[in-house]
Amino acid sequence: MWAKTRHFVLRQNVVILLLLLVVFFSLTIGSLFLNGQNIHNVARQISFDIPLALALTIVLIAGGIDLSVGSVLSMAAALTMGLQPYGSWFSVTVALLFGAGVGLVNGLLVTKGRIVPFIATLGTMTVVRGIMLTYTRQQPIAGSDAAFTFWGAGSLGPIPVPILIVLALALLVHLLLTYTSLGRNFYAIGGNNEAAFLAGIDVLRNKVLAFVLSGLLAAVSGVLIASRLNSSTVHIGLDSGLWAIAAAIIGGASLTGGKGSALGAVFGVITLGVLVNGMNLLGVHTYYQIGIRAIILITVVAIDALSAMNLRKKQMMQAYGARE
């Protein structure tokens, strides 16, 4: 296990990036940054982003992309609050089913409808957002079950409850991706669709499952946010999807498919979370923060493309027997 961890640290630039950020903010902000309360805040904040990054990691590994996660998140939050009068467990179940359902639709559009993933999910993103606006009539919905806030806003000692939930979730996704054939099939499909098909893998079914998992995880995020705020508004989830793509790619996933890990996704979210927290503490104005986020997204996507190009070159040279 230790050897594996070390391998991960050495191979993933995300860890180095995170360390650099922590050192930088510690030096510039000092104790305001490195204290228990702030770490608690960051942990709580990132716990709502981790399920989304896991969702995107799964879909990216399988060679797709899911732009609809933000909309799914906000609708799941709205359902969690809106149906709470019928019982919290009921509302959560419906919210999760809704997420999985949207994932199923995405999967079918991509496989049966043969629409490229980002176009298909752009469409469902719009539709789901429209459904959410219709359902909420553009009004915030307040919660009615105070006990329910425990899952998003509660703490066990110094540790926020939601971070425990999402870390458990990350562990599950890790096991799924690494130690089950479903997970390995995702890698195979994203790495070389044709090869996976010829090797007897049911490509279409596995792709649909990847999207279903993605929708489900996005809904989890929505449920947790609703629990945290004890309400839902139309503003949540607007740019979460893009942010989650950035986190997943920073964590080692790639738009070219076949790569990524649950651990990487968690680190990607922590890195971006620390960055946002640091900018807030430094008093960077919101307008500039939006710009910085945009630059991060562009940089991440560009670097991903460049490294994919490099990798192809390297693999070609390997194939040719690395002649000097």
Binding site: I115, G130, L242, I245, I298, A305, M309
Partner: protein, 334 residues
């Protein structure tokens, strides 16, 4: 499977399959080539039936005037789509151009200077998009979404979230002026630009190169087409047309805000795709986009006349987009 599709051998010389299959297939072919016109006709009939004011010159001119801003954006988007690329940053570029022009006017710039500065702002964003995409070969969709947010933050910084007013009166003519007191200049700009671009697409070396890049970039490159230059040019062009649309929009109301033009990224895609331009590149044209824009305009007009709430319109838009893309995919595979 991609391989399976490419492995399908082509017929011995001769005609496309559908021409051998009689009337129903021929009809299908015609519908496949021009479904947009049929949709438009159906909507016009529906409008006439549903509302007495629909088929009045005033209402029709009004529709044209309403859609011309989005239309100009969609024309630029179409040029990019033909090469198989996208620009999701057009929405906030629409805002940026107006903001640039209005602020330039406050600083004393005249009519022409402020318009040129507005266009320049759009061209620069297009250049940024093009350079990143050409150099890194990254996913155009995500990169332009990124620059879109970047431009939005720029808009916020420039306007400080306040409304800004144009101070050169002649500027307002661009949005409100009418030729012979009947047709708005913006409508004329939209239609003339569409016709001009159609000519460029069909009759010039530049236009031909766009179709070649969109259909088979590699073959084009190996035949001596300078792919990168042309891609850069199309992004700059798309940014500039979005800026032109933004200037017209600002001139209409005389004022602008940071998120002016929001939603036009998706709407311009829908308009182009509705008209029959493929998201996969290589097929389409600006005349088709004009039809697509008109469909959107008539549809919106109908929904307003019928008092359909805004939220439901959103759902409808998404569903329309998905079904058109789905049909486009079917045609592609046929």
């Amino acid at each position: 499977m991609r391989d399976t599709a490419s492995a399908i051998p082509q017929g011995e010389l001769g005609k496309p399959e559908f021409e051998k299959q009689g009337f129903s297939a021929a009809l299908l072919h015609f519908l496949a080539a021009n479904p947009a016109l049929i949709i438009l006709a159906v909507l016009m009939v529906a409008g006439t039936v549903l509302s007495p004011v629909f088929l009045t010159t005033q209402n029709l001119l009004n529709i044209l005037w309403t859609v011309s801003v989005l239309g100009i954006v969609a024309l630029g988007q179409t040029i990019l789509l033909i090469t198989g690329n996208f620009d999701m940053s057009v929405a906030y570029v629409v805002g940026l151009a107006g903001i640039t022009a209005v602020i330039a006017q406050l600083w004393g710039a005249g009519l022409v200077a402020s318009i040129l500065l507005g266009l320049l702002a759009g061209a620069l964003v297009g250049l940024l998009n093009g350079v990143i995409i050409v150099l890194t070969k990254a996913n155009a969709f995500l990169i332009t979404l990124g620059t879109s947010i970047l431009v939005y933050s720029l808009n916020l910084i420039l306007t400080q979230s306040k409304t800004w007013y144009a101070s050169v009166d002649s500027f307002l003519l661009l949005g409100r002026g009418k030729l012979f007191d009947t047709i708005h200049y913006s409508v004329i700009i939209f239609l003339v630009l569409g016709l001009l671009l159609q000519f460029i697409l069909r009759q010039t070396i530049f236009g031909r190169s766009l179709y070649i890049i969109g259909s088979n970039q590699r073959a084009g490159e190996l035949s001596g087409i300078r792919i990168n230059r042309i891609k850069l040019a199309t992004y700059v062009f798309c940014g500039t047309t979005a800026a032109l649309a933004g200037l017209i929009m600002t001139a209409r109301t005389g004022s602008t805000v940071a998120n002016a033009g929001v939603g036009m990224d998706f709407d311009s895609l829908i308009a182009a795709v509705l008209g029959g331009t493929s998201l996969f590149g290589g097929r389409g044209g600006t005349l088709r986009t004009i039809v697509g824009v008109l469909i959107l305009g008539v549809l919106n007009n109908l929904l307003v006349l019928l008092n359909v709430p805004y939220e439901a319109q959103q759902i409808a838009k998404g569903l329309v987009f998905l079904s058109v893309v789905w049909m486009d995919g079917l045609l592609q595979k046929r």
